[in-house]
Symmetry: C2
Subunit: 324 residues, 2 copies
Protein backbone atom coordinates (compact mmCIF):
# COMPACT_ATOMS: atom_id res chain seq x y z
CA UNK A 1 0.00 0.00 0.00
CA UNK A 2 2.10 2.94 -1.18
CA UNK A 3 -0.58 5.54 -1.46
CA UNK A 4 0.92 8.92 -2.33
CA UNK A 5 0.97 11.30 0.62
CA UNK A 6 0.68 15.06 0.88
CA UNK A 7 4.46 15.16 1.33
CA UNK A 8 4.96 13.37 -2.00
CA UNK A 9 2.81 15.92 -3.79
CA UNK A 10 4.73 18.77 -2.14
CA UNK A 11 8.09 17.28 -3.18
CA UNK A 12 6.91 16.71 -6.74
CA UNK A 13 5.49 20.22 -7.06
CA UNK A 14 8.51 21.79 -5.34
CA UNK A 15 6.40 23.59 -2.76
CA UNK A 16 5.69 23.22 0.95
CA UNK A 17 3.09 20.88 2.43
CA UNK A 18 1.21 23.94 3.66
CA UNK A 19 1.01 25.30 0.13
CA UNK A 20 -0.35 22.00 -1.18
CA UNK A 21 -2.95 22.04 1.58
CA UNK A 22 -3.92 25.63 0.68
CA UNK A 23 -4.33 24.70 -2.98
CA UNK A 24 -6.42 21.64 -2.16
CA UNK A 25 -8.64 23.62 0.18
CA UNK A 26 -8.65 26.71 -2.05
CA UNK A 27 -7.55 29.01 0.78
CA UNK A 28 -5.61 32.29 0.63
CA UNK A 29 -3.84 33.88 -2.34
CA UNK A 30 -2.15 31.43 -4.72
CA UNK A 31 -0.54 32.20 -8.05
CA UNK A 32 -1.77 30.36 -11.12
CA UNK A 33 1.69 28.87 -11.53
CA UNK A 34 1.67 27.35 -8.03
CA UNK A 35 -1.87 26.02 -8.50
CA UNK A 36 -0.90 24.40 -11.77
CA UNK A 37 2.21 22.77 -10.32
CA UNK A 38 0.23 21.31 -7.43
CA UNK A 39 -2.64 20.18 -9.67
CA UNK A 40 -0.16 18.52 -12.02
CA UNK A 41 1.60 16.75 -9.15
CA UNK A 42 -1.76 15.54 -7.80
CA UNK A 43 -2.70 14.18 -11.22
CA UNK A 44 0.70 12.59 -11.92
CA UNK A 45 0.87 10.82 -8.56
CA UNK A 46 -2.80 9.91 -8.52
CA UNK A 47 -3.00 11.57 -5.10
CA UNK A 48 -6.40 11.38 -3.46
CA UNK A 49 -6.98 13.82 -0.61
CA UNK A 50 -8.08 12.08 2.55
CA UNK A 51 -11.45 13.73 2.99
CA UNK A 52 -11.84 12.52 6.52
CA UNK A 53 -8.73 14.45 7.51
CA UNK A 54 -9.89 17.42 5.43
CA UNK A 55 -13.22 17.44 7.20
CA UNK A 56 -11.46 17.59 10.58
CA UNK A 57 -9.41 20.59 9.47
CA UNK A 58 -12.30 22.30 7.77
CA UNK A 59 -14.94 21.22 10.30
CA UNK A 60 -16.99 19.97 7.41
CA UNK A 61 -17.77 16.36 6.64
CA UNK A 62 -19.53 17.08 3.31
CA UNK A 63 -21.94 14.41 4.51
CA UNK A 64 -25.70 14.89 4.60
CA UNK A 65 -28.05 12.37 6.19
CA UNK A 66 -31.36 11.48 4.56
CA UNK A 67 -33.94 9.87 6.85
CA UNK A 68 -36.81 8.15 5.04
CA UNK A 69 -39.43 5.55 6.03
CA UNK A 70 -37.97 3.12 3.45
CA UNK A 71 -36.57 3.36 -0.08
CA UNK A 72 -38.32 0.05 -0.83
CA UNK A 73 -41.36 2.31 -1.34
CA UNK A 74 -41.05 3.73 -4.88
CA UNK A 75 -42.02 7.25 -3.81
CA UNK A 76 -39.20 7.46 -1.27
CA UNK A 77 -36.85 5.61 -3.61
CA UNK A 78 -37.41 8.27 -6.26
CA UNK A 79 -37.11 11.06 -3.68
CA UNK A 80 -33.82 9.59 -2.37
CA UNK A 81 -32.48 9.20 -5.89
CA UNK A 82 -33.12 12.87 -6.71
CA UNK A 83 -31.87 14.13 -3.34
CA UNK A 84 -28.66 12.17 -3.79
CA UNK A 85 -28.24 13.53 -7.32
CA UNK A 86 -28.74 17.14 -6.22
CA UNK A 87 -26.30 16.69 -3.31
CA UNK A 88 -23.68 15.05 -5.53
CA UNK A 89 -23.82 18.03 -7.92
CA UNK A 90 -22.86 20.26 -4.98
CA UNK A 91 -20.07 18.01 -3.72
CA UNK A 92 -21.95 16.35 -0.89
CA UNK A 93 -22.36 12.65 -0.13
CA UNK A 94 -25.55 11.20 1.25
CA UNK A 95 -25.87 8.80 4.15
CA UNK A 96 -29.06 6.84 3.65
CA UNK A 97 -30.98 6.22 6.87
CA UNK A 98 -33.79 3.81 6.08
CA UNK A 99 -36.14 3.58 9.07
CA UNK A 100 -37.85 0.41 7.86
CA UNK A 101 -41.04 2.19 8.91
CA UNK A 102 -40.28 2.23 12.64
CA UNK A 103 -40.00 5.32 14.92
CA UNK A 104 -37.34 3.65 17.09
CA UNK A 105 -34.93 3.59 14.17
CA UNK A 106 -35.56 7.23 13.41
CA UNK A 107 -34.55 8.28 16.94
CA UNK A 108 -31.38 6.19 16.68
CA UNK A 109 -30.46 7.61 13.29
CA UNK A 110 -30.85 11.15 14.51
CA UNK A 111 -28.34 10.42 17.26
CA UNK A 112 -26.01 8.60 14.92
CA UNK A 113 -26.00 11.39 12.35
CA UNK A 114 -25.08 13.94 14.97
CA UNK A 115 -22.32 11.72 16.32
CA UNK A 116 -20.94 11.51 12.82
CA UNK A 117 -21.00 15.27 12.46
CA UNK A 118 -22.94 15.30 9.26
CA UNK A 119 -23.33 18.82 7.93
CA UNK A 120 -27.09 18.55 7.77
CA UNK A 121 -30.14 16.31 7.75
CA UNK A 122 -33.08 15.96 5.41
CA UNK A 123 -35.94 14.12 7.07
CA UNK A 124 -38.93 12.75 5.26
CA UNK A 125 -40.82 10.49 7.62
CA UNK A 126 -44.23 10.62 9.17
CA UNK A 127 -43.57 9.35 12.64
CA UNK A 128 -44.88 12.09 14.87
CA UNK A 129 -43.31 11.26 18.20
CA UNK A 130 -39.62 11.64 17.55
CA UNK A 131 -38.39 14.17 20.09
CA UNK A 132 -34.79 14.41 18.92
CA UNK A 133 -35.30 16.98 16.19
CA UNK A 134 -35.96 19.84 18.63
CA UNK A 135 -32.67 19.12 20.42
CA UNK A 136 -30.59 18.67 17.30
CA UNK A 137 -27.91 21.31 16.91
CA UNK A 138 -27.37 21.11 13.17
CA UNK A 139 -29.25 22.23 10.07
CA UNK A 140 -32.36 20.19 9.29
CA UNK A 141 -34.92 20.41 6.52
CA UNK A 142 -38.15 18.42 6.59
CA UNK A 143 -40.05 17.10 3.62
CA UNK A 144 -43.84 17.01 3.97
CA UNK A 145 -43.73 17.11 7.76
CA UNK A 146 -43.65 19.74 10.46
CA UNK A 147 -40.74 19.04 12.80
CA UNK A 148 -40.69 22.20 14.88
CA UNK A 149 -40.11 25.95 14.95
CA UNK A 150 -37.27 27.11 12.78
CA UNK A 151 -37.11 23.89 10.76
CA UNK A 152 -38.08 24.58 7.15
CA UNK A 153 -40.52 22.22 5.50
CA UNK A 154 -40.74 21.41 1.81
CA UNK A 155 -44.12 20.24 0.72
CA UNK A 156 -46.32 20.05 -2.29
CA UNK A 157 -49.85 21.38 -2.27
CA UNK A 158 -51.56 18.75 -0.12
CA UNK A 159 -54.75 20.77 0.28
CA UNK A 160 -55.22 21.15 -3.47
CA UNK A 161 -54.32 17.49 -3.94
CA UNK A 162 -57.07 16.49 -1.51
CA UNK A 163 -59.55 18.79 -3.27
CA UNK A 164 -58.65 17.45 -6.74
CA UNK A 165 -58.99 13.80 -5.69
CA UNK A 166 -62.27 14.26 -3.82
CA UNK A 167 -63.92 16.47 -6.43
CA UNK A 168 -62.84 14.08 -9.19
CA UNK A 169 -64.45 11.10 -7.43
CA UNK A 170 -67.66 13.02 -6.84
CA UNK A 171 -67.75 14.38 -10.43
CA UNK A 172 -67.36 10.81 -11.74
CA UNK A 173 -70.47 9.80 -9.79
CA UNK A 174 -69.11 8.48 -6.52
CA UNK A 175 -71.45 9.26 -3.59
CA UNK A 176 -69.69 7.35 -0.80
CA UNK A 177 -65.96 7.71 -1.36
CA UNK A 178 -63.74 6.98 1.64
CA UNK A 179 -60.28 8.28 2.43
CA UNK A 180 -57.45 5.90 3.33
CA UNK A 181 -54.42 7.48 4.99
CA UNK A 182 -51.54 6.60 7.33
CA UNK A 183 -52.41 8.93 10.19
CA UNK A 184 -55.42 11.19 10.58
CA UNK A 185 -53.90 14.05 12.58
CA UNK A 186 -54.94 17.74 12.58
CA UNK A 187 -52.09 18.74 10.25
CA UNK A 188 -53.16 16.28 7.54
CA UNK A 189 -54.18 18.66 4.77
CA UNK A 190 -55.28 15.97 2.36
CA UNK A 191 -57.73 14.55 4.89
CA UNK A 192 -58.92 18.06 5.78
CA UNK A 193 -59.59 18.87 2.12
CA UNK A 194 -61.43 15.56 1.69
CA UNK A 195 -63.69 16.32 4.69
CA UNK A 196 -64.32 19.87 3.52
CA UNK A 197 -65.30 18.86 -0.02
CA UNK A 198 -67.49 15.98 1.21
CA UNK A 199 -69.32 18.39 3.55
CA UNK A 200 -69.70 20.92 0.73
CA UNK A 201 -71.54 18.26 -1.28
CA UNK A 202 -73.61 17.11 1.70
CA UNK A 203 -71.85 13.73 1.77
CA UNK A 204 -70.61 11.80 4.77
CA UNK A 205 -66.82 11.77 5.21
CA UNK A 206 -65.20 8.55 6.39
CA UNK A 207 -61.45 8.46 7.01
CA UNK A 208 -59.63 5.22 7.69
CA UNK A 209 -56.11 5.55 9.17
CA UNK A 210 -54.09 2.36 9.00
CA UNK A 211 -51.21 3.67 11.10
CA UNK A 212 -47.69 4.41 10.07
CA UNK A 213 -45.49 1.70 11.47
CA UNK A 214 -47.30 -1.16 9.80
CA UNK A 215 -45.70 -3.51 7.32
CA UNK A 216 -47.13 -3.72 3.82
CA UNK A 217 -48.77 -7.05 4.66
CA UNK A 218 -50.38 -5.68 7.82
CA UNK A 219 -51.57 -2.62 5.95
CA UNK A 220 -53.13 -4.75 3.25
CA UNK A 221 -54.94 -6.91 5.81
CA UNK A 222 -56.37 -3.98 7.77
CA UNK A 223 -57.47 -2.16 4.60
CA UNK A 224 -59.16 -5.23 3.12
CA UNK A 225 -61.05 -5.89 6.35
CA UNK A 226 -62.10 -2.27 6.64
CA UNK A 227 -63.28 -2.00 3.02
CA UNK A 228 -65.23 -5.23 3.41
CA UNK A 229 -67.25 -3.97 6.39
CA UNK A 230 -67.58 -0.34 5.23
CA UNK A 231 -69.59 -0.17 2.02
CA UNK A 232 -68.22 2.46 -0.36
CA UNK A 233 -68.18 3.29 -4.07
CA UNK A 234 -64.89 5.21 -4.14
CA UNK A 235 -61.45 5.25 -2.57
CA UNK A 236 -59.15 8.24 -2.24
CA UNK A 237 -55.88 6.74 -1.00
CA UNK A 238 -53.13 8.98 0.32
CA UNK A 239 -50.45 7.01 -1.52
CA UNK A 240 -50.33 4.83 -4.63
CA UNK A 241 -49.42 1.56 -2.90
CA UNK A 242 -52.53 1.83 -0.76
CA UNK A 243 -54.62 2.62 -3.85
CA UNK A 244 -53.25 -0.51 -5.51
CA UNK A 245 -54.18 -2.56 -2.43
CA UNK A 246 -57.75 -1.31 -2.87
CA UNK A 247 -57.58 -2.23 -6.59
CA UNK A 248 -56.48 -5.76 -5.76
CA UNK A 249 -59.18 -6.09 -3.08
CA UNK A 250 -61.78 -5.09 -5.70
CA UNK A 251 -60.46 -7.73 -8.09
CA UNK A 252 -60.50 -10.45 -5.41
CA UNK A 253 -64.01 -9.58 -4.22
CA UNK A 254 -65.48 -9.29 -7.72
CA UNK A 255 -66.05 -5.53 -7.73
CA UNK A 256 -65.69 -3.83 -11.10
CA UNK A 257 -63.34 -0.85 -11.29
CA UNK A 258 -64.38 1.89 -11.96
CA UNK A 259 -68.09 0.98 -12.22
CA UNK A 260 -68.50 -0.40 -8.68
CA UNK A 261 -65.46 1.26 -7.13
CA UNK A 262 -63.56 4.34 -8.32
CA UNK A 263 -59.98 4.56 -7.11
CA UNK A 264 -57.64 7.55 -6.87
CA UNK A 265 -54.10 7.29 -5.50
CA UNK A 266 -51.45 9.82 -4.55
CA UNK A 267 -47.75 10.42 -5.35
CA UNK A 268 -47.30 9.38 -8.99
CA UNK A 269 -43.81 7.89 -8.72
CA UNK A 270 -42.34 6.99 -12.11
CA UNK A 271 -42.09 3.27 -11.26
CA UNK A 272 -45.72 2.90 -10.22
CA UNK A 273 -47.02 5.05 -13.07
CA UNK A 274 -45.11 2.72 -15.34
CA UNK A 275 -46.33 -0.37 -13.52
CA UNK A 276 -49.98 0.67 -13.46
CA UNK A 277 -50.41 3.45 -16.03
CA UNK A 278 -54.17 3.25 -15.63
CA UNK A 279 -54.13 4.32 -11.99
CA UNK A 280 -55.69 7.73 -11.43
CA UNK A 281 -53.39 9.59 -9.08
CA UNK A 282 -52.39 12.99 -7.76
CA UNK A 283 -48.84 13.51 -8.91
CA UNK A 284 -46.36 15.19 -6.61
CA UNK A 285 -43.35 16.94 -8.22
CA UNK A 286 -40.92 14.51 -6.57
CA UNK A 287 -37.73 15.79 -8.17
CA UNK A 288 -38.57 19.42 -7.42
CA UNK A 289 -39.33 18.55 -3.79
CA UNK A 290 -35.98 16.79 -3.41
CA UNK A 291 -34.07 19.65 -5.08
CA UNK A 292 -35.78 22.31 -3.03
CA UNK A 293 -34.97 20.42 0.17
CA UNK A 294 -31.30 20.25 -0.84
CA UNK A 295 -31.25 23.97 -1.74
CA UNK A 296 -32.80 24.97 1.58
CA UNK A 297 -30.44 22.73 3.53
CA UNK A 298 -27.37 24.20 1.85
CA UNK A 299 -28.67 27.70 2.60
CA UNK A 300 -29.07 26.78 6.25
CA UNK A 301 -25.64 25.21 6.33
CA UNK A 302 -24.11 28.39 4.92
CA UNK A 303 -25.95 30.58 7.43
CA UNK A 304 -27.55 28.89 10.41
CA UNK A 305 -29.34 32.09 11.43
CA UNK A 306 -30.89 32.71 8.02
CA UNK A 307 -34.57 33.48 8.14
CA UNK A 308 -36.72 30.54 7.18
CA UNK A 309 -38.96 32.04 4.57
CA UNK A 310 -42.32 30.33 4.36
CA UNK A 311 -42.19 28.24 1.20
CA UNK A 312 -45.05 28.17 -1.24
CA UNK A 313 -46.18 24.58 -1.67
CA UNK A 314 -45.11 23.00 -4.96
CA UNK A 315 -47.94 22.30 -7.43
CA UNK A 316 -49.64 18.91 -7.83
CA UNK A 317 -51.77 17.62 -10.71
CA UNK A 318 -54.39 14.92 -11.12
CA UNK A 319 -53.64 12.29 -13.73
CA UNK A 320 -56.78 10.54 -14.91
CA UNK A 321 -56.56 6.79 -15.64
CA UNK A 322 -59.09 4.01 -16.04
CA UNK A 323 -59.45 3.31 -12.30
CA UNK A 324 -61.84 6.25 -11.79
Amino acid sequence: MSRPKLQDVAARAGVSVTTVSRVLNNRGYLSDDIKKRVDDAVAELGYRPNEIARSLIGQRSTLVGLIVPTVADPFFGELASHAEGALAERGYKMLLCDCHDTPEREEKYLDLLQGNRVDGIISSTHNRDVAGYGRADLPIVAIDRRLGDGIPTVHSDNRTGGVLATEHLIARGSRAPVHLTATDHPGNQRAAAYRERMAAHGLEARVMAYGYDTSLDERRAVIETWLTVNPCDGVFASDDLTALMALEWARKTGRRVPDDLRIVGYDGSAALQLAVPGLTTVRQPIERMARRAVDLLLERMADATADVAAQDPLPVALRHGWTS
Copy 2:
Protein backbone atom coordinates in the same frame (compact mmCIF):
# COMPACT_ATOMS: atom_id res chain seq x y z
CA MET B 1 -22.63 25.37 21.29
CA SER B 2 -21.30 23.85 24.49
CA ARG B 3 -20.92 20.30 23.32
CA PRO B 4 -19.18 18.19 26.01
CA LYS B 5 -15.59 17.34 25.11
CA LEU B 6 -13.39 14.37 25.85
CA GLN B 7 -11.72 16.48 28.55
CA ASP B 8 -15.07 17.05 30.27
CA VAL B 9 -15.72 13.31 30.37
CA ALA B 10 -12.24 12.69 31.79
CA ALA B 11 -12.73 15.31 34.52
CA ARG B 12 -16.15 13.94 35.46
CA ALA B 13 -14.89 10.35 35.58
CA GLY B 14 -11.71 11.35 37.41
CA VAL B 15 -9.45 9.64 34.86
CA SER B 16 -7.09 10.78 32.12
CA VAL B 17 -8.16 11.67 28.60
CA THR B 18 -6.15 8.69 27.36
CA THR B 19 -8.13 6.36 29.60
CA VAL B 20 -11.43 7.75 28.29
CA SER B 21 -10.19 7.23 24.77
CA ARG B 22 -9.20 3.63 25.57
CA VAL B 23 -12.62 2.91 27.05
CA LEU B 24 -14.43 4.43 24.07
CA ASN B 25 -12.29 2.47 21.63
CA ASN B 26 -12.26 -0.66 23.79
CA ARG B 27 -8.45 -0.95 23.76
CA GLY B 28 -6.08 -2.44 26.29
CA TYR B 29 -6.84 -3.70 29.81
CA LEU B 30 -9.42 -1.69 31.72
CA SER B 31 -11.01 -2.52 35.07
CA ASP B 32 -14.78 -2.75 35.29
CA ASP B 33 -14.75 0.14 37.75
CA ILE B 34 -12.95 2.44 35.30
CA LYS B 35 -15.23 1.40 32.47
CA LYS B 36 -18.30 2.11 34.55
CA ARG B 37 -17.04 5.54 35.65
CA VAL B 38 -16.37 6.54 32.04
CA ASP B 39 -19.67 5.12 30.79
CA ASP B 40 -21.55 7.00 33.52
CA ALA B 41 -19.75 10.26 32.73
CA VAL B 42 -20.54 9.80 29.02
CA ALA B 43 -24.21 9.23 29.82
CA GLU B 44 -24.47 12.07 32.34
CA LEU B 45 -22.87 14.63 30.07
CA GLY B 46 -24.57 13.39 26.93
CA TYR B 47 -21.14 13.09 25.36
CA ARG B 48 -21.15 11.98 21.73
CA PRO B 49 -17.82 10.70 20.43
CA ASN B 50 -16.72 12.47 17.27
CA GLU B 51 -16.65 9.53 14.93
CA ILE B 52 -14.73 11.38 12.28
CA ALA B 53 -11.87 11.85 14.74
CA ARG B 54 -12.24 8.26 15.90
CA SER B 55 -12.02 6.99 12.38
CA LEU B 56 -8.74 8.85 11.88
CA ILE B 57 -7.29 7.26 15.01
CA GLY B 58 -8.66 3.84 14.27
CA GLN B 59 -8.18 4.02 10.50
CA ARG B 60 -11.80 3.00 10.11
CA SER B 61 -14.58 5.19 8.82
CA THR B 62 -17.37 2.66 9.52
CA LEU B 63 -18.69 3.84 6.16
CA VAL B 64 -19.63 1.49 3.35
CA GLY B 65 -20.56 2.72 -0.13
CA LEU B 66 -23.42 1.15 -2.06
CA ILE B 67 -23.37 1.73 -5.83
CA VAL B 68 -26.67 1.01 -7.58
CA PRO B 69 -28.19 1.96 -10.95
CA THR B 70 -30.98 3.86 -9.16
CA VAL B 71 -33.11 3.33 -6.04
CA ALA B 72 -36.04 4.77 -7.99
CA ASP B 73 -36.28 1.21 -9.38
CA PRO B 74 -38.17 -0.83 -6.75
CA PHE B 75 -35.77 -3.80 -7.00
CA PHE B 76 -32.74 -1.67 -6.15
CA GLY B 77 -34.74 0.31 -3.61
CA GLU B 78 -35.57 -2.89 -1.76
CA LEU B 79 -31.99 -4.13 -2.10
CA ALA B 80 -30.63 -0.81 -0.73
CA SER B 81 -33.11 -0.87 2.14
CA HIS B 82 -32.00 -4.36 3.23
CA ALA B 83 -28.29 -3.64 2.73
CA GLU B 84 -28.59 -0.52 4.87
CA GLY B 85 -30.47 -2.45 7.56
CA ALA B 86 -27.87 -5.22 7.68
CA LEU B 87 -25.03 -2.68 7.81
CA ALA B 88 -26.71 -0.66 10.56
CA GLU B 89 -27.02 -3.81 12.69
CA ARG B 90 -23.23 -4.16 12.50
CA GLY B 91 -22.50 -0.52 13.27
CA TYR B 92 -21.85 0.66 9.73
CA LYS B 93 -23.35 3.57 7.87
CA MET B 94 -24.14 3.43 4.18
CA LEU B 95 -23.29 6.06 1.59
CA LEU B 96 -25.81 5.73 -1.21
CA CYS B 97 -24.30 6.20 -4.68
CA ASP B 98 -27.16 6.36 -7.16
CA CYS B 99 -25.77 6.22 -10.70
CA HIS B 100 -28.97 7.42 -12.32
CA ASP B 101 -28.29 4.63 -14.82
CA THR B 102 -25.13 6.16 -16.30
CA PRO B 103 -21.63 4.59 -16.39
CA GLU B 104 -19.93 8.02 -16.02
CA ARG B 105 -21.41 8.42 -12.57
CA GLU B 106 -20.27 4.98 -11.51
CA GLU B 107 -16.64 5.80 -12.35
CA LYS B 108 -16.88 9.06 -10.40
CA TYR B 109 -18.42 7.37 -7.40
CA LEU B 110 -15.72 4.75 -7.28
CA ASP B 111 -13.12 7.53 -7.07
CA LEU B 112 -15.12 9.46 -4.53
CA LEU B 113 -15.62 6.48 -2.24
CA GLN B 114 -11.92 5.76 -2.19
CA GLY B 115 -11.12 9.41 -1.49
CA ASN B 116 -13.45 9.24 1.46
CA ARG B 117 -11.74 6.13 2.77
CA VAL B 118 -14.88 4.07 3.03
CA ASP B 119 -14.17 0.68 4.58
CA GLY B 120 -15.70 -1.16 1.65
CA ILE B 121 -17.95 -1.02 -1.38
CA ILE B 122 -20.96 -3.05 -2.48
CA SER B 123 -21.61 -2.61 -6.19
CA SER B 124 -24.77 -3.68 -7.92
CA THR B 125 -24.79 -2.18 -11.38
CA HIS B 126 -24.69 -3.61 -14.86
CA ASN B 127 -22.44 -1.18 -16.65
CA ARG B 128 -19.71 -3.35 -18.09
CA ASP B 129 -17.05 -0.81 -18.94
CA VAL B 130 -16.09 0.64 -15.59
CA ALA B 131 -12.36 0.08 -15.26
CA GLY B 132 -11.92 1.46 -11.76
CA TYR B 133 -12.81 -1.70 -9.84
CA GLY B 134 -9.64 -3.53 -10.82
CA ARG B 135 -7.52 -0.65 -9.49
CA ALA B 136 -9.47 -0.16 -6.28
CA ASP B 137 -7.44 -0.93 -3.17
CA LEU B 138 -10.25 -1.66 -0.76
CA PRO B 139 -12.71 -4.50 -0.15
CA ILE B 140 -15.45 -4.80 -2.77
CA VAL B 141 -18.35 -7.18 -3.15
CA ALA B 142 -20.45 -7.32 -6.31
CA ILE B 143 -24.12 -8.21 -6.55
CA ASP B 144 -25.18 -10.05 -9.71
CA ARG B 145 -22.15 -8.92 -11.69
CA ARG B 146 -18.63 -10.10 -12.31
CA LEU B 147 -16.19 -7.28 -11.55
CA GLY B 148 -12.88 -9.10 -11.68
CA ASP B 149 -10.64 -11.72 -10.14
CA GLY B 150 -10.75 -11.78 -6.38
CA ILE B 151 -13.95 -9.78 -6.13
CA PRO B 152 -16.71 -11.97 -4.67
CA THR B 153 -20.08 -11.91 -6.38
CA VAL B 154 -23.44 -12.53 -4.74
CA HIS B 155 -26.06 -13.74 -7.11
CA SER B 156 -29.24 -15.70 -7.23
CA ASP B 157 -29.72 -18.62 -9.57
CA ASN B 158 -30.04 -16.80 -12.89
CA ARG B 159 -29.73 -19.96 -14.96
CA THR B 160 -32.60 -21.68 -13.14
CA GLY B 161 -34.60 -18.45 -13.31
CA GLY B 162 -34.19 -18.40 -17.09
CA VAL B 163 -35.18 -22.07 -17.32
CA LEU B 164 -38.26 -21.60 -15.13
CA ALA B 165 -39.51 -18.59 -17.09
CA THR B 166 -38.95 -20.12 -20.53
CA GLU B 167 -40.35 -23.56 -19.68
CA HIS B 168 -43.37 -21.95 -18.06
CA LEU B 169 -44.17 -19.93 -21.19
CA ILE B 170 -43.78 -22.98 -23.41
CA ALA B 171 -45.85 -25.17 -21.06
CA ARG B 172 -48.64 -22.57 -21.14
CA GLY B 173 -48.73 -22.84 -24.92
CA SER B 174 -46.44 -20.09 -26.12
CA ARG B 175 -44.58 -21.05 -29.32
CA ALA B 176 -42.84 -17.76 -30.09
CA PRO B 177 -41.81 -16.22 -26.77
CA VAL B 178 -39.12 -13.51 -26.93
CA HIS B 179 -36.63 -12.45 -24.29
CA LEU B 180 -36.22 -8.77 -23.33
CA THR B 181 -33.08 -7.89 -21.43
CA ALA B 182 -30.75 -4.94 -20.77
CA THR B 183 -27.59 -6.35 -22.32
CA ASP B 184 -27.12 -9.62 -24.16
CA HIS B 185 -23.51 -10.43 -23.20
CA PRO B 186 -21.91 -13.89 -22.87
CA GLY B 187 -22.20 -13.88 -19.07
CA ASN B 188 -25.97 -13.34 -19.15
CA GLN B 189 -27.19 -16.61 -17.65
CA ARG B 190 -30.86 -15.84 -18.00
CA ALA B 191 -30.50 -15.24 -21.74
CA ALA B 192 -28.34 -18.38 -22.07
CA ALA B 193 -30.98 -20.50 -20.32
CA TYR B 194 -33.71 -19.01 -22.52
CA ARG B 195 -31.74 -19.88 -25.70
CA GLU B 196 -30.97 -23.36 -24.45
CA ARG B 197 -34.58 -24.20 -23.57
CA MET B 198 -35.92 -22.73 -26.81
CA ALA B 199 -33.45 -24.87 -28.77
CA ALA B 200 -34.42 -27.95 -26.75
CA HIS B 201 -38.02 -27.46 -27.88
CA GLY B 202 -37.03 -26.73 -31.47
CA LEU B 203 -38.18 -23.13 -31.20
CA GLU B 204 -36.46 -20.01 -32.50
CA ALA B 205 -34.86 -17.83 -29.83
CA ARG B 206 -35.09 -14.05 -30.22
CA VAL B 207 -33.39 -11.80 -27.70
CA MET B 208 -33.96 -8.06 -27.66
CA ALA B 209 -31.45 -5.99 -25.64
CA TYR B 210 -32.60 -2.44 -25.00
CA GLY B 211 -29.29 -1.27 -23.51
CA TYR B 212 -28.48 -0.31 -20.00
CA ASP B 213 -28.11 3.44 -19.89
CA THR B 214 -31.54 4.20 -21.27
CA SER B 215 -34.16 6.16 -19.38
CA LEU B 216 -37.47 4.47 -18.60
CA ASP B 217 -39.17 6.47 -21.36
CA GLU B 218 -36.55 5.50 -23.94
CA ARG B 219 -36.75 1.88 -22.88
CA ARG B 220 -40.50 1.88 -23.23
CA ALA B 221 -40.30 3.41 -26.72
CA VAL B 222 -37.71 0.94 -28.00
CA ILE B 223 -39.57 -2.06 -26.55
CA GLU B 224 -42.92 -0.99 -27.98
CA THR B 225 -41.42 -0.50 -31.42
CA TRP B 226 -39.63 -3.82 -31.30
CA LEU B 227 -42.68 -5.77 -30.11
CA THR B 228 -44.79 -4.16 -32.83
CA VAL B 229 -42.50 -5.31 -35.66
CA ASN B 230 -41.55 -8.72 -34.16
CA PRO B 231 -44.64 -10.90 -33.88
CA CYS B 232 -44.60 -12.96 -30.68
CA ASP B 233 -47.02 -14.73 -28.35
CA GLY B 234 -44.93 -14.52 -25.18
CA VAL B 235 -42.51 -12.22 -23.35
CA PHE B 236 -39.87 -13.24 -20.83
CA ALA B 237 -38.60 -9.92 -19.46
CA SER B 238 -35.45 -9.82 -17.39
CA ASP B 239 -37.02 -7.38 -14.88
CA ASP B 240 -40.54 -6.58 -13.75
CA LEU B 241 -40.63 -2.99 -14.99
CA THR B 242 -39.89 -4.20 -18.52
CA ALA B 243 -42.58 -6.90 -18.18
CA LEU B 244 -45.05 -4.21 -17.15
CA MET B 245 -44.09 -2.15 -20.21
CA ALA B 246 -45.00 -5.17 -22.35
CA LEU B 247 -48.28 -5.51 -20.45
CA GLU B 248 -49.16 -1.88 -21.13
CA TRP B 249 -48.19 -2.24 -24.81
CA ALA B 250 -50.57 -5.23 -25.07
CA ARG B 251 -53.38 -3.18 -23.54
CA LYS B 252 -52.77 -0.25 -25.89
CA THR B 253 -52.58 -2.43 -29.00
CA GLY B 254 -55.63 -4.52 -28.10
CA ARG B 255 -53.84 -7.80 -27.38
CA ARG B 256 -55.41 -9.99 -24.72
CA VAL B 257 -53.15 -11.12 -21.87
CA PRO B 258 -52.59 -14.03 -21.46
CA ASP B 259 -54.54 -15.39 -24.49
CA ASP B 260 -52.66 -13.42 -27.16
CA LEU B 261 -49.55 -12.64 -25.16
CA ARG B 262 -48.17 -14.41 -22.09
CA ILE B 263 -45.88 -12.29 -19.91
CA VAL B 264 -43.29 -13.32 -17.31
CA GLY B 265 -41.18 -10.79 -15.40
CA TYR B 266 -38.19 -11.07 -13.11
CA ASP B 267 -37.24 -9.80 -9.62
CA GLY B 268 -40.46 -9.88 -7.58
CA SER B 269 -39.85 -6.76 -5.48
CA ALA B 270 -42.46 -6.31 -2.74
CA ALA B 271 -43.69 -2.99 -4.16
CA LEU B 272 -44.33 -4.32 -7.67
CA GLN B 273 -45.82 -7.59 -6.43
CA LEU B 274 -48.16 -5.44 -4.42
CA ALA B 275 -48.81 -3.08 -7.33
CA VAL B 276 -49.46 -5.84 -9.86
CA PRO B 277 -50.13 -9.05 -7.92
CA GLY B 278 -51.20 -10.78 -11.12
CA LEU B 279 -47.79 -10.48 -12.77
CA THR B 280 -46.08 -13.82 -13.23
CA THR B 281 -42.48 -13.32 -12.17
CA VAL B 282 -39.30 -15.07 -11.09
CA ARG B 283 -38.71 -13.92 -7.54
CA GLN B 284 -35.18 -13.23 -6.36
CA PRO B 285 -34.48 -13.48 -2.61
CA ILE B 286 -33.67 -9.76 -2.39
CA GLU B 287 -33.15 -9.56 1.37
CA ARG B 288 -30.92 -12.64 1.42
CA MET B 289 -28.83 -11.25 -1.43
CA ALA B 290 -28.34 -7.95 0.41
CA ARG B 291 -27.46 -9.69 3.68
CA ARG B 292 -25.01 -12.08 2.05
CA ALA B 293 -23.28 -9.15 0.33
CA VAL B 294 -22.90 -7.39 3.68
CA ASP B 295 -21.62 -10.57 5.36
CA LEU B 296 -19.03 -11.15 2.63
CA LEU B 297 -17.91 -7.54 2.69
CA LEU B 298 -17.38 -7.56 6.46
CA GLU B 299 -15.37 -10.78 6.12
CA ARG B 300 -13.17 -9.15 3.50
CA MET B 301 -12.78 -6.05 5.64
CA ALA B 302 -11.64 -8.18 8.57
CA ASP B 303 -9.17 -10.12 6.42
CA ALA B 304 -8.30 -8.73 3.01
CA THR B 305 -6.40 -11.87 2.07
CA ALA B 306 -9.24 -14.24 2.91
CA ASP B 307 -9.97 -16.78 0.22
CA VAL B 308 -13.01 -15.93 -1.81
CA ALA B 309 -14.99 -19.11 -1.63
CA ALA B 310 -17.23 -19.61 -4.63
CA GLN B 311 -20.75 -18.87 -3.44
CA ASP B 312 -23.67 -21.09 -4.33
CA PRO B 313 -26.29 -19.00 -6.06
CA LEU B 314 -29.33 -18.21 -3.91
CA PRO B 315 -32.56 -19.92 -4.95
CA VAL B 316 -35.26 -18.28 -7.08
CA ALA B 317 -38.91 -19.28 -7.54
CA LEU B 318 -41.55 -18.67 -10.18
CA ARG B 319 -44.72 -17.01 -8.96
CA HIS B 320 -47.64 -17.67 -11.27
CA GLY B 321 -50.12 -14.83 -11.86
CA TRP B 322 -52.77 -14.13 -14.46
CA THR B 323 -50.39 -12.62 -17.03
CA SER B 324 -49.25 -16.05 -18.24
